[in-house]
């Protein structure tokens, strides 16, 4: 029989973290945890005989486990098996990320609609290829007023619109539904200051009610329940910071920045948007997780979108002032047993970055992963 070779499916990307790896299943939008040692072997022999893989796996585990791994990898279609002569016909996935947009996402706070109209904010964004808008309306806007505002922009080429609004007296399910029917591009509505927290979807629109005021919802740290695995986010995250890349924020007074709480680059009343899109403005776009201390050691780094503002250190890397809910050095989330903050796992310096304390980490991991299982 012909010798069979294996190959990793290009739509599956094995991403190593400090402690463990994740198999990103980009076309089935799912993921699995794997040991780093398995990923090393899979990469090392990728395209080679299945026997090599088997042998290498037996060397780190035993025959039964090796067989189980291979069965698992084949069953999940993480790898496939084919005769050697065809292996080289399978080419690599192009990892380039590109969008036909100078700005892709815009967050616009709205208090004064005449400012939006006079300075042609929406038209300018449309000309820049913007596809996603998030309007955050002040408490002066009931659903009827929002509807009137949106009606002016229906013919423009946006793909989706999100709405943040206040829960005002006349708001009810009936008029929300009518509003969604009239504005087919709306994909998400967040309603703040509501009596209760609830979610009430209508067709493809996600409608979320919050008791909180909307300023409270602006900090969103990495949260494993909100992670998405898809090819677009993965590719974007390889090179860019997916929260900041091609994003713009215009506040209620017309000040332009990358996102809420970021540095101001000008005001819509005196500057047009295209003219501020210079290298300084795009600085945060390049703060990929690979170029960010701690995140670069995290296996979630190509599915994680968080809105902390990266700061530049002197050696071309970025760092965050606030810690994350996840510690990649022990693979533990804050709400999990055994979690300790990253700072306790080594020495952290804004210039040198995080230097893992090997003994300390080994000790912690032994406690969490070995003793905990007993």
């Amino acid at each position: 029989m012909m010798e069979m070779h294996y190959k990793i499916h290009e739509e599956v990307r094995f991403v190593k973290g400090f402690m463990r790896a994740i198999a990103y299943d980009l076309n089935r939008c799912d993921y699995d945890f794997l040991p780093n040692s398995l990923v090393d072997i899979l990469h090392k022999y990728n395209g080679n005989s299945l026997l090599y893989l088997e042998k290498a796996l037996i060397a780190i585990a035993n025959k039964t486990i090796a067989k189980e791994y291979i069965d698992f990898l084949i069953k999940k279609e993480y790898i496939f098996i084919i005769e050697r002569e065809y292996i080289n016909q399978f080419s690599c996935l192009n990892l380039e990320f590109n969008l036909p947009s100078h700005i892709f996402t815009a967050i616009i706070d709205i208090e004064d609609t005449s400012m939006v109209a006079n300075y042609k904010i929406i038209e300018q964004l449309n000309d820049l290829g913007c596809k996603h808008l998030l309007f955050r309306f002040s408490n002066q806007f009931d659903i009827e007023r929002i509807n009137v505002f949106l009606s002016k922009y229906k013919t423009l080429g946006f793909h989706s619109i999100g709405i943040w609004m206040y829960s005002l007296p006349l708001l009810n399910t009936k008029n929300i539904k009518a509003f969604c029917m009239q504005n087919v591009k709306i994909n998400k509505i967040s309603i703040f200051n509501h009596k209760i927290n609830k979610q009430n979807n209508f067709k493809t629109v996600e409608i979320q009610f919050y008791k909180a005021n909307w300023t409270d919802a602006t900090i969103c740290l990495a949260n494993r329940n909100n992670f998405h695995i898809n090819i677009t986010l993965f590719l974007e995250s390889l090179t860019y910071n997916p929260y900041f890349n091609k994003k713009i924020y215009i506040d209620k007074k017309g000040f332009i920045s990358n996102a809420p709480y970021c540095m101001i680059f000008g005001n819509i009343k005196t500057t047009n948007i295209a003219s501020i899109l210079n290298e300084d403005f795009k600085f945060l776009w390049a703060a990929s997780k690979d170029k960010t201390f701690i995140c670069k050691d995290c296996e979630y780094r190509y599915m994680c979108v968080d809105n902390r503002i990266p700061k530049k250190s002197n050696n071309g890397m970025f760092f965050f002032e606030n810690g994350c809910n996840y510690n990649p050095y022990i693979a533990r989330w804050k709400d999990q047993e055994g979690y300790v903050p990253v700072e306790e796992c080594g020495t952290y310096d804004r210039e040198a970055g995080f230097v893992p304390g090997k003994t300390k980490i080994a000790e912690l991991n032994k406690r969490i992963w070995c003793e905990g299982d007993n």
Binding site: E10, N94, P100
Partner: protein, 326 residues
């Protein structure tokens, strides 16, 4: 300027237009809903120029060195020929004459406008059987194919081939209304199906079912190939026709490079069919042969472009821009 003829809701067209906007390149997009009013057609020495109005503006065919045909067709305003009110033989023959005149002009304008375009409205008319014949002549392997009208012939064929499939001789189309749907994708021929068939039936195409390692969907653009391997054989729902998409558990579709000799034969085939772009379906059989199935002139390149990240939308946009500058 670039001319794009496509239905107004075609998503792939929108994506290409996003790139044209990004590169700030002028274009005109029309569909059958935009009436074209021909002003005049002048036949010069070795050139033709005609002026027309569409979408409230005046153009000449010379404005459009770069043309992309995707979907839809050109609608001409003057050709709204009314049926005669009084039905006499004379009126009817005048009416027929007008229709013939119309066709001459329609064809002439189409021929000229789409002379160097990427795809043309005529591409859709290719005869699938002729394509198989030419493919075979060029040396591509095709499945054993027979068009049958008698049950006894079909039964004889089932003895010869383990498994048979049947498909339309046109393209796969969705026939039906919201209540009833007829799936015209490729079907495996079952014993029950044969049992229900009458002794004589409408000429139907049957092919041997090729046992496959993988299916290949290839987008072809001006002698370049962009292929994706479809691992459909693991999935019952898609193993006969991968267009029976399984949305919950999509097939793996990694990028694939066709061997050189297959590329050369496909180039010959596309050239013989006068196609500069299209989607080609092949199978890599379990015996290791590349088996040619069919070509769809106006194929869906998105299914190849997105999972393999080929950026075909940008490539087509750039190609159109280059043609405009040539």
């Amino acid at each position: 300027m670039i001319l794009i003829v496509s239905s107004h809701d075609d998503f792939s067209t929108n994506e290409i237009i996003d790139w044209l906007l990004y590169y700030k390149h002028p274009f005109l997009r029309i569909s059958q809903d935009d009436l074209i009013e021909i002003e005049n057609i002048e036949i010069q020495n070795n050139d033709v120029e005609f002026f027309f109005q569409v979408k409230g503006k005046r153009f000449s065919n010379k404005n459009f060195p770069s043309v992309w045909y995707r979907r839809s067709w050109l609608s001409f305003a003057e050709f709204n020929i009314q049926c005669p009110k009084i039905k006499s033989v004379f009126n009817q023959s005048i009416h027929n004459q007008l229709l013939s005149e119309k066709n001459v002009i329609y064809n002439f304008v189409n021929n000229n406008l789409f002379r160097d375009s990427i795809n043309t409205p005529f591409d859709c008319n290719i005869n699938k059987l002729l394509v198989l014949q030419i493919a075979k002549k060029i040396g591509l392997v095709i499945p054993y194919t027979k068009i049958i009208t008698r049950k006894k012939d079909l039964l004889a064929l089932t003895k010869k081939y383990n498994k048979l499939i049947t498909k339309t001789q046109t393209g796969g189309v969705f026939v039906g209304s919201s209540r009833e749907k007829l799936n015209t994708l490729t079907l495996e021929v079952s014993e029950e199906m044969i049992a229900e068939m009458p002794d004589r039936f409408f000429p139907t195409l049957f092919q041997e079912q090729i046992e496959k390692k993988i299916e290949l969907r290839v987008f072809f653009l001006e002698n370049q190939f962009f292929a994706s391997a479809i691992f459909s054989q693991y999935d019952k729902q898609t193993s006969v026709d991968f267009r029976n998409y399984n949305f919950k558990h999509p097939n793996r579709t990694p990028p694939y490079m066709l061997p050189h000799d297959i590329q050369e034969k496909l180039k010959q085939l596309m050239s013989a069919l006068h196609l500069n772009s299209g989607s080609i379906d092949l199978i890599l059989s379990s015996g290791g042969e590349y088996v040619f199935l069919e070509v769809n002139p106006i194929g869906q390149f998105k299914q190849v472009s997105k999972p393999c990240n080929y950026h075909l939308e940008r490539l087509i946009a750039k190609r159109l821009i280059d043609k405009d500058k040539e």
